[in-house]
């Protein structure tokens, strides 16, 4: 069996599972946010329920429109807050909250071998820790809060083998954008994406989280990386139980095996309006920009901010570019302060936002007007994603985003380093 099949079979109480099989599996953690949580709570309440299956296994994270952008968002967060109080489930208040998919691993809530569902499509992020983790809907969350279970169809697995090592200014974001560019936004639809190979082994946990985070942008059910010593160290540092380390069997069956030479990947940029429009950054050198966003569940972690700060240090952002830096969590923010990164950003003319999904989904804290162009370290560049239906979003890694902020147009980091 593959690592995905092993985790699913254990959680379904079965000796083995095969792709296509429907199972009801036990969940280790159920997540919802300020957009999807209220709908789940409505369904839960409509059924007249008065208890959840296990309060310690439910987490509510108000991160999308917070600090609340308007009265209605405040009302939605209130629904979460009241529910959390009533049923003693975990809730992160402003000041402690962070972007959910950066926050949960950091808080030690994820262990290897876990089965996690979340009413947020980027819940697939936690596969980087060797867990099965997938995005579902609000009704699924209501169902799981009652029963502790989720219905799933066991996915076939596509194995990705990345040979070689990543070059300079190339990281997890470039690997995943390149991969989505190669297979398309539905290239892994309903599939488990298992990321393997020398290049993955050599990546930090932050980079691995970025890769698994965007499995959904290829239509994937989950992204997963077999746990190793880097995983173990991350889990121990975060205070999590290390959990169970599963690996795919030698004779595991894959639907497809795709080999990619990671050493040949250049920094990638995905043009509007699909993440699969990925090309070498140098192909976009004529694109002028109005805004840069560095943050999100994809690239708002400490190593992302370090990479951006390295480019920004001693330089100023272009006078006609708004550059918004969003540390993904309080801890990331504090660490960035300690290391002097925040000072570098402010000195160079960036603005620092509190942890929030904010502009990534066109919510607040940096929405685009008609005809405006942004380059962002976020995960989606659909029509109107960051604001006006006639605005445009390009996706990139943090170094490319910061280099672009400085030069006012989409740029390779070595153009500012000259």
């Amino acid at each position: 069996m593959t690592i995905t099949e092993k985790i699913l079979s254990v959680h379904a109480g079965l000796k083995e599972v095969i792709p296509g099989q429907f199972i009801e599996a036990n969940v280790d953690l159920v997540l919802a946010n300020d957009i999807t949580g209220p709908l789940a709570i409505e369904e839960f309440t409509k059924l007249g329920m008065n208890k959840v299956f296990d309060p310690t296994k439910i987490v509510l994270v108000p991160d999308h429109f917070t600090p609340c952008k308007d009265i209605r968002s405040a009302e939605m967060v209130k629904v979460l807050r009241n529910f959390a109080k009533k049923y003693s489930v975990r809730f992160y208040e402003i000041g402690k909250v962070g972007i959910e998919h950066a926050l949960l691993p950091e808080q030690g809530l994820i262990s290897a071998g876990d089965l996690i569902i979340g009413a947020d499509s980027h819940t697939c992020t936690y596969g980087a820790l060797g867990a099965f983790s997938t995005g579902v809907g609000s009704t699924d969350v209501a169902f799981a809060m009652i029963t502790g279970k989720i219905w799933l169809k066991v996915p076939p697995t596509i194995k990705f083998v990345y040979k070689g090592r990543c070059g300079k200014y190339v990281g997890g974001k470039d690997i995943i954008l390149y991969t989505i560019g190669k297979i398309g936004v539905d290239g892994a639809r309903y599939r488990a994406m298992e990321f393997t190979g020398e290049a993955i082994d050599g990546l930090s946990m932050d980079d691995r989280l970025t890769i698994c985070n965007m499995a959904i942008e290829a239509g994937g059910k989950n992204g997963i990386i077999a746990p190793d010593s880097i995983t173990e160290e991350f889990l121990l540092t975060s205070g999590a139980n290390t959990g169970t380390f599963y690996r795919s069997d030698e004779d595991a069956e894959y639907e497809n095996i795709i080999e990619i030479d990671a050493g040949a990947i250049e920094p990638q940029v995905s043009a509007p309006h699909l993440p699969s429009n990925a090309k070498n950054v140098r192909e976009f050198s004529s694109v002028s920009i109005d805004q840069v966003v560095i943050g999100s569940c994809t690239n708002g972690r400490i190593s992302d901010l370090r990479k951006a700060a390295m480019i920004a240090k001693g330089r100023s952002v272009h006078p006609e570019v708004r550059t918004i830096i969003i540390p993904a969590t309080r801890k990331v923010y504090q660490q960035a302060l300690r290391e002097g990164l925040i000072d570098i950003f402010v000195e160079s003319g960036c603005v620092i936002s509190p942890p929030t999904c904010g502009p990534c989904l066109g919510g607040h804290m940096g929405v685009l007007g008609k005809g405006e162009v942004a380059i962002a370290t976020t995960n989606r560049n659909f029509i109107g994603r960051m604001g006006h239906p006639e605005s445009m979003v390009y996706l990139s890694n943090p170094e490319v985003a910061m280099a672009s902020a400085i030069l006012g147009k989409i740029s390779h980091p070595d153009e500012v380093q000259k």
Binding site: L39, L47, M76, Y190, I216, G363, R380, R385
Partner: protein, 163 residues
């Protein structure tokens, strides 16, 4: 069950931001969500359609976010069924869970804007009344049929888990 309605045709990779933009997600009110359904790519969609009309699309319909507001908005504005070459997985499960009928057919390309379709859920046959073409669609696997038969996941949980 037989449904008859006019076709509203869309392309491939219609994402959840197209179906309901995030700026409208500060409510769970279905009527309000419905009023903004497809607005980004088809202005005034909810005003133009009639009850029981049908959305027909290409590959990967509903890709992107997990927002259940997307199938809720479609259902809320009166669309009776979504027909596509394929669906993104979270949209698919959300539709099943909330009881929005969806059908996968390989020949969606042959259906045009404004055609009148008749969908027979019992026989699994779609007839294009505009050009006379007929096709069949696969029924859902047994497991999903149980959820659909119950009327959605919440009714199913009531039957199965809460006594």
């Amino acid at each position: 069950m037989i449904i008859k309605g006019k076709v509203w045709k869309f392309g491939d990779h219609i994402n959840t931001d197209d179906i309901i933009a995030a700026r409208y997600l500060n409510t769970t009110d279905v009527r309000e969500l419905a009023a903004h359904c497809m607005e980004t790519i088809a202005p005034d969609f909810s005003k133009k359609i009639a009850k029981d009309d049908i959305i027909v699309a290409g590959e990967n319909f509903g890709c992107g976010s997990s927002r259940e507001h997307a199938p809720l908005a479609i259902k809320g504005c009166g669309i009776s069924v979504v027909v596509a070459k394929s669906f993104a997985r979270i949209f698919f499960r959300n539709a099943i869970n909330i009881g929005l009928p969806i059908i996968e057919i390989p020949f969606a390309d042959k259906i045009s804007q404004g055609d009148i379709l008749e969908v027979n859920f019992d026989s699994g046959i779609i007839v294009n009344l505009t050009n006379g073409e007929k096709g069949t669609f696969m029924k859902y696997p047994e497991f999903l049929q149980q959820i659909i038969k119950s009327g959605g996941l919440m009714s199913w949980v009531k039957e199965k888990y809460i006594r």
